[in-house]
């Protein structure tokens, strides 16, 4: 079974970065198959950004390298939520950053909504590592990859001097899942479809 993960939002939110971290953690450090791809264009200078990650067991090759129906959709802005909300499996999960997504999209998936950017800024003093917080959340919810592999990939790929804050962000993401805060705060939006 291939797990299809779509990370979507705006350029500058670091979605390409966490896509690569996820693919590297799963593919290189946990020996699975992993493909990460990027929708080309805006991500360098703002505009919309999309990063797809597909993960499968080692014995199962990944053929088509883009998400067809997502098991996990992350939407970090309204446009992305609206555009991709419909391309989620029945069993899928939609994770919304309510800092930017004010209207939950039409979707078959279960919605988890949380103001990730706002809370990251509150807790870590900067909104920049929100992407890594979300990465931790997605990895947990989708049971995609273990923490150790994520830590290795973050250490490998973080720019100089940024690995510490990224590891803090990772811990914060794990904490959010563990304490159940996501589910509680997400209750309001759950039944919308």
């Amino acid at each position: 079974m291939t797990t299809e993960i779509r990370l979507s939002g705006s350029g500058g939110q670091g979605l390409l970065f966490i896509g690569r971290i996820l693919a590297e953690a799963a593919g290189v450090f946990e020996g699975k198959n992993a493909v990460q791809s990027t929708s080309y264009g805006g991500q360098v200078r703002g505009g919309s950004s999309r990063s797809d990650v597909l993960i499968s067991p080692a014995e199962e090759e990944i053929d088509f390298p883009e998400v067809m129906d997502a098991d996990l959709l992350l939407a970090m802005n309204q446009e992305a939520a609206d555009e991709y909300g419909g391309k989620v499996k029945q069993s899928g999960v939609v994770i919304l950053d309510t800092t930017f997504v004010k209207q939950p999209p039409k979707t078959r998936g279960r919605i988890i909504a949380y103001p990730f950017t706002l809370k990251t800024k509150e807790r870590l003093g900067s909104a920049l590592p929100t992407n890594v917080v979300v990465l931790a959340v997605i990895s947990q919810i989708g049971a995609l990859v273990g923490k150790e592999a994520l830590v290795r990939a973050i250490k490998k790929r973080s720019p100089k001097g940024k690995d510490e804050i990224n590891l803090q962000a990772l811990n914060l993401g794990f904490e959010l899942v563990k304490t159940g805060v996501l589910q509680r705060d997400g209750d309001d939006e759950r039944e919308l479809h």
Binding site: G31, V35, Q36, G41, D63, F64, P65
Partner: protein, 376 residues
Amino acid sequence: MSREGLLLQGNEAVSEGAIAAGVRFFAGYPITPATEISEVMARRMPELGGTFLQMEDEIASISAVLGASCGGVKAMTASSGPGLALKAEGIGYAVCAEIPCLIVNVQRTGPGVGSVTPSQQDVMQAKWGPNSDNMIISLSPASIKECFWLAIRGVNLSEKYRVPVILLSDSFLGHMSEKIDLPSPEEIETMDRPRPTVAPEKYKAYDADINGVPPLANFGEGYAVRLVGNMHNKAGDYSRNPRDFDFLINRLHNKILTNLADICAYEEVEIDGADLVIVAYGIVSRAAKAAIRLAKNQGMRVGLFRPIVLWPFPTERLAEIGKKVGGILVAEMNMGQVIREVERTTRGEVPVAGLNRIDGLLINPLDILAKLKEMG
């Protein structure tokens, strides 16, 4: 053998493959979506004692590559469609002068300046870009692993046959990341240009029989290597003799066409017993594989024929397949380029349909499935 896998982008994998094949000279000019190859090479070439040059334009890049190759250093350049249009001159020269080199085209969309989104719109440009009759080799990778291995194969073929080799990537593959287990150097076969066997004073740069690849001495070794892009005789003398023209142009073709068994490569998936066969190459072949899975679930018997070497086109095998199946679907991200070869190859013996996409997005497995159903 224990070694750590790597997560590489297509553009990185192409670079590392070329390096593994022995490339130690890169000249390029910035163009999206090929720039990462330049950026990797700007680091890796000097690290390895090689040379990275950012030249004044695309033409200068291929020119510098040709100069370096004559010096005996394996050399490459990379660009995208508009850049390849400019490099066509140098590629044609390399065909005639028989100078080995690797050219990577990370294809983008549309004529003119176009856009940086992926396409397969330069397949015919690869074959027919330069003036006149050309015989080049062109390879089409479908994965990061293949980006690496076909870069090696490309360098090897260019050396072995003294011919420019064009690696046709695209901007999706170029920026896609996948895990790859890099082999150790002893697992990689590298090839060098055929070396002269005669004394330096007897050496002629184009001395071969009508199907042959002439040995190539490097500059600076005392062989008085006289290389030329004009019509020439075996010594490399400028010629206006029709017999020399005839011999040369035929030989440039024959040296490839008489070695198809060595050069051609393709992948077949579930061809035996298939009612329909998809012909797809590069990134599209992965959508085709997904479509075959989906079709199978619906009781259809569909196979895939994937040329890995696009030029020379694998005519012989495809003709055989064409005789056995009920229809061929050619899926490609252009207005229909390889389909012309498929039609030429199958000579009306089997219905051939095309599925084309030119909007910069990938052909989706569902689109292929729908088309297959239409074909029945």
